[in-house]
Symmetry: none
Subunit: 291 residues, 2 copies
Amino acid sequence: MVEKTPFTVAERIRNHFEGLTRTERQLANTMLENYPMSCLGSITAIASASEVSAPTVVRMVKKIGFCGFPDFQSSLHSELEETISSPITKYDRWSDNAPDEHMLNRFADAAMQNMRQSLKHIDPATFDAVTRLLSQADHDIHIVGGRITRSLADYLFTHLQVMRKGVTCVASNSNTWPHYLLNMAPGDVLVVFDIRRYEHNIHHFTKMAKARGVQVVLFTDQWGSPVGQYADHVFNLRIEAPSAWDSSLVIVLVMEALIAAVQAEIWGDSKERMKELETLFDDTKLFKKFF
Amino acid sequence: MVEKTPFTVAERIRNHFEGLTRTERQLANTMLENYPMSCLGSITAIASASEVSAPTVVRMVKKIGFCGFPDFQSSLHSELEETISSPITKYDRWSDNAPDEHMLNRFADAAMQNMRQSLKHIDPATFDAVTRLLSQADHDIHIVGGRITRSLADYLFTHLQVMRKGVTCVASNSNTWPHYLLNMAPGDVLVVFDIRRYEHNIHHFTKMAKARGVQVVLFTDQWGSPVGQYADHVFNLRIEAPSAWDSSLVIVLVMEALIAAVQAEIWGDSKERMKELETLFDDTKLFKKFF
DNA sequence: AATAATCAGAAACAAAACATACAGATGGAT
DNA sequence: ATCCATCTGTATGTTTTGTTTCTGATTATT
């Protein structure tokens, strides 16, 4: 038995994470995934659960400072002994080593609140309808965002662009916006992002698009942008944060869920298609692909 | 032993206690004394801890219904797993009216998992150090992202730009990147976003920036971009999603928490400064006449 | 007190778990 | 495109663990 370190096994894994290789990180991740139970079995069991070889496990535990697997495991055992015998487990805290008042924990709590509140209020029918709108190929998609939400618009655009044709992202410079209006046909879809400090030019832009027979999907906050009056489908999402800034987190969540749903709608869940998608990325691929 | 009994291991020991012999009872008592940690080691360890012989342990676990010591121990492990991890994994359903298999619920679950795992992984010291780096005005900040993460880079840029001077966002066209390198001075900070399907040009760019004495902050996934070798501070965040696409949600979360922390660092929490921030936004309303 | 029955540890054995060496594979650098 | 460094699994050897057998010891019974 070596002398006691003030670090838990989990901390030692995290601290050495940078120095680990790819498979060793894969192992580290499965270990931390439901720590510490995932580390209780034999070395062979852990290896196969992480889909790595036993020697990799040995090399990894040596790297993080143990002199062998038995040493690693007995450290874990004595750690478990202390943890369990202490009162109610504090496993539910976000970051063990950070105090509750730390910005990271405060933000995580706020994010949880926002997610819960927002998702409760989403009508699945709306979600499904928007999924269909974004999937159908018989019309074009236009995306516009404001000063802050422009990045979100861009994020949606980047993904949709790969999955289907006829997707345009309205540039940030509003001088050019009239040109975008000209390209809109009746039946097209305009996705609008407009949250607190609603912007006049977006309001105006949407109004004119609506007049051209465009269907409008709106992402806004819990108070609701005035653009809502022109929208066929509205997502009211909470953006409150312990900050002077608003949080776009839930918007990203819903947007990503939509992207996933559209992807499933267009291509189905078949692995064939996923492979196809994979090859699309191969141009930029640098590292080995994992799955 | 194949079938599952409703009894815990401890209960099974107590239930069979009457039928045990003297040394077996001695063993049982030591086991129950600080259950279940006392049962975690090898059979030899348990035997010597209880001051009985190894065969006695085998006979005992067979008496209480297991087919051998490994069976006994693996039962104990899965029991431990349920005991410790059950309060965590239970969360109330998100959208009542939507079935569990609905994409929104599946995505919300994945998001929760990603958040929990990632936040455990974050070292608060890293977070605080990065906050400081982004707050200090004696150097410039450069931000770069890849094909997908470019939007995230832009999101961070949009916010930082308001709070401080000397923030640049590297354009997506990598032909122009050498010019950005020229503008980097030793002590500057480069924030890099690089997740799965790590991009070669980002790797190269970061390497050259590092060579110029730039401090590197990296946002990457749980496997870790190879850029990590040049990084001073790394955030490993989970990006798994029930989709062919990855989820940037946790990246947004940490980024927003950082933005909030930087805002507090630079301006403090005083309402005075928030008002000032407010007026900065009011200017954007002037743009309405442009359209 | 003698005998039978049960019990517990020692010894021997089988089966894993753990560690090491090595070679093919992979990715980066020139 | 080729070489070099690094990584990772296979194969192999060594130790430890888990199991069985068996003998000495203990206790109960007559």
